[in-house]
Amino acid sequence: MSRRKVAVVGAGMTKFMRRALETPKELAWLAAKSALDSAEMKLDQIDCVVLGSAPDAFDGLHMKGEYLSDGCGGWKKPYLRCYVGGGTGVYAVAQAWFQVASGLFDTALVVCEEKMSSCLPHPQAAFLTIFDHITEQPLKPNLLWIFALEQTRYMQTYGIALEDIARVSVKNKRNALGHPAAQLGADLTIKEVLASEVMAWPVHRLMVSPTSDGAAAVVLAAEETARRICDRPAWIQGVGWCLDTAYWTNRDLAYPEYVEKAAWMAYRTAGIREPRKEINIAEPYDPFAYKELHHLEGLQLAPKGQAPRLLADGVFERNGDLPVTPSGGLLGVGNPIAAAGLMKICELFWQLRGEAGTRQVPGKPERGVAQAWGDLMQVGTVVVMGTKEPA
C-alpha cells in the first residue's frame, strides 16, 4: 500500500445546546478554532478543509457549505462539503483522510456543524421530505414513524424487552454527566425512562436524542507532520462506508447490513479479524436508544440480537470489557446531526490519549471505532482509530 499514514492531531467542539445565540458560521469557527488551538496550529498551516453538514433545511441556508466556509477556515483554500445525512460526522473524517492519504495535502481541518433550532415550528418539519414525496408524504407521516417501525421489527425479531432498550438511555445520559459540552447529561433509572411519554410506541421520549445546535472539528496530519505536531497522535487505521437501498419498506429493518459492510471495509484496512477482541472502545451512533444496540450488532461487536444481553451484563459500561459510548453519545451530549458524529471521533481522540477526564475508560485503550448512520435508514460510516501507526 502506497497510501500515507494519517492521524488525528487535534480536536475541539462547542457546547451542544437546544438553541445557540451564535450563527452557524460562528459555531463552526468556535469548534474549528478550538481544534487548531488544541494542536497549537495556525490556520495557514492547514492545507485543505472538509465540511460536513446535513440538510440545508435545518439551518435554513441554501448552499450551506459555501456559507459556512469562512467559519471553517476555508477562505481561499481547497474546500469540500460532504453529506450522507446523519452519517456525515464520521464520513467527513473518511473524506479528509483521502485528501491527506493521497499525498495531495499534509494537513486537513475537518469541521461539522448543525443549527437545528432555526427550523420552525420544530426541526421535525425539515425531516418530512425524507419520506417519498409521492408514495409516502400524502399519508401525513411523522418522522418518528420510521424509527418506531424499525425498533418494533428489531425487538420482535429477537425478543428484546423495552427495559433493555431503556438501559441504553440510562448508561449514555449518565456517561454524559462527565462531558463539558453535554446538553442532556442526567442520572436516570430504567423506570424513569419507561415512565416518559410514549412518542410512537415503542419509542418513549427519554429514548430520543434532542435536536441541537453545535459544531465539532478535528485536525488531520500525515506521517512526519503528525509526529512533529502531536506527542501522541491518534492514527486512522481504517475507514468504511456503505449505503443501502432507499426503498426502506423493501428491507428487513431488524439488522443494519449497511453498517456491517462499512465496518468490514474499515476493519480489513485496519487488519482487524476479530473486532470484539481487537477493539477497546466503541462509539456507535445513538440517536435513539435502540440504535446503539442495533449498530453494535452491525459493527460485529455483539452477535445478532445479543447486544441487549451484553449491555445488561455490564460489558458496555465504562469499566466493562468493551466500553460503549463513554462520551454520553447523542442521547446525553446532544444531536446536532453532523457534529454529533464528529463528536464521537473527538471522544476517541481524547480517550486514546488518556485525556477524557472523568469519562476516561480505564486500562489505556489502544483502539476504538466510531460509527455514524443516517439518510433513510441507509448509510453506515465507520472509522477505526488507534495509538499504533498503521503498517
Partner: protein
C-alpha cells in the same frame, strides 16, 4: 500540545426564550415559497393510475426474479430495466408497525395512529409499502397479522396512495 478542553473552554452561548421574546436578541423569520411539481415517471405514474382504478400493481425483474412494489422501471440490484407489470392482491401482512401519539405537525394525539409497513400478497417476500392501519385496538396489532386494503369509493379516488383509505385486519 494542549489537552482536552476544560469546561470553561468549551464555548457556545445557550439562548433562552426570554431574551428572544423581549426582543433583546435580534432575529429574522423567513418562510420561503417552496412549491414543486414532481414528475412521477413511468412507474409511479402507472402505480397511481392503477390505484385510482382500485388496483395495486408491481414490476418484475426476470433476472433476480423479484416482484417489486413500489414499481420501478429499473432493478436497483441488477441495474437493468425491469421486465413486466404484475397485478397484486390488495391484501397483505403487517411487517412492522408503531403506535404514534404525535401527529405530523407535532401535536399530541389521544388515539394513536398506527403506521405500518405492509408486505403485499403477490410481491416478493419483504416487499412492503408504508401505510396506516385502522379498525383494531392498538394493543392488538401484531407483526404477521393479515390485513386488507379499504378503498375510498371510486368517485373519491384521485390517483394517490390515499385512494386506499387504510388497512384493516382480515375478518376470519
Amino acid at each position: 500540545m494542549k489537552s482536552e478542553p476544560e469546561p470553561n473552554l468549551v464555548r457556545g452561548t445557550p439562548l433562552h426564550e426570554k431574551p428572544l421574546r423581549q426582543g433583546k436578541t435580534f432575529t429574522i423569520t423567513y418562510t420561503p415559497k417552496l412549491r414543486y411539481e414532481w414528475d412521477m415517471g413511468q412507474a409511479i405514474g402507472r402505480y397511481l393510475a392503477e390505484l385510482k382504478e382500485g388496483r395495486l400493481i408491481a414490476r418484475a425483474c426476470r433476472k433476480c426474479e423479484r416482484v417489486m412494489i413500489p414499481p420501478r422501471m429499473f432493478c436497483e440490484r441488477c441495474f437493468r430495466p425491469t421486465d413486466e407489470w404484475v397485478y397484486l392482491k390488495d391484501t397483505g401482512k403487517i411487517f412492522t408497525f408503531s403506535l404514534c401519539y404525535v401527529s405530523w405537525n407535532v401535536k399530541r394525539l389521544k388515539q394513536p395512529e398506527v403506521p405500518a409497513v405492509i408486505e403485499i400478497d403477490g410481491a416478493s417476500p419483504g416487499m412492503g409499502i408504508l401505510h396506516v392501519v385502522k379498525r383494531i385496538a392498538p394493543k392488538k396489532v401484531r407483526i404477521g397479522m393479515a390485513v386488507q386494503a379499504v378503498w375510498k369509493p371510486k368517485p373519491e379516488r384521485i390517483g394517490s396512495v390515499t385512494d386506499i383509505a387504510y388497512w384493516e385486519p382480515i375478518k376470519k
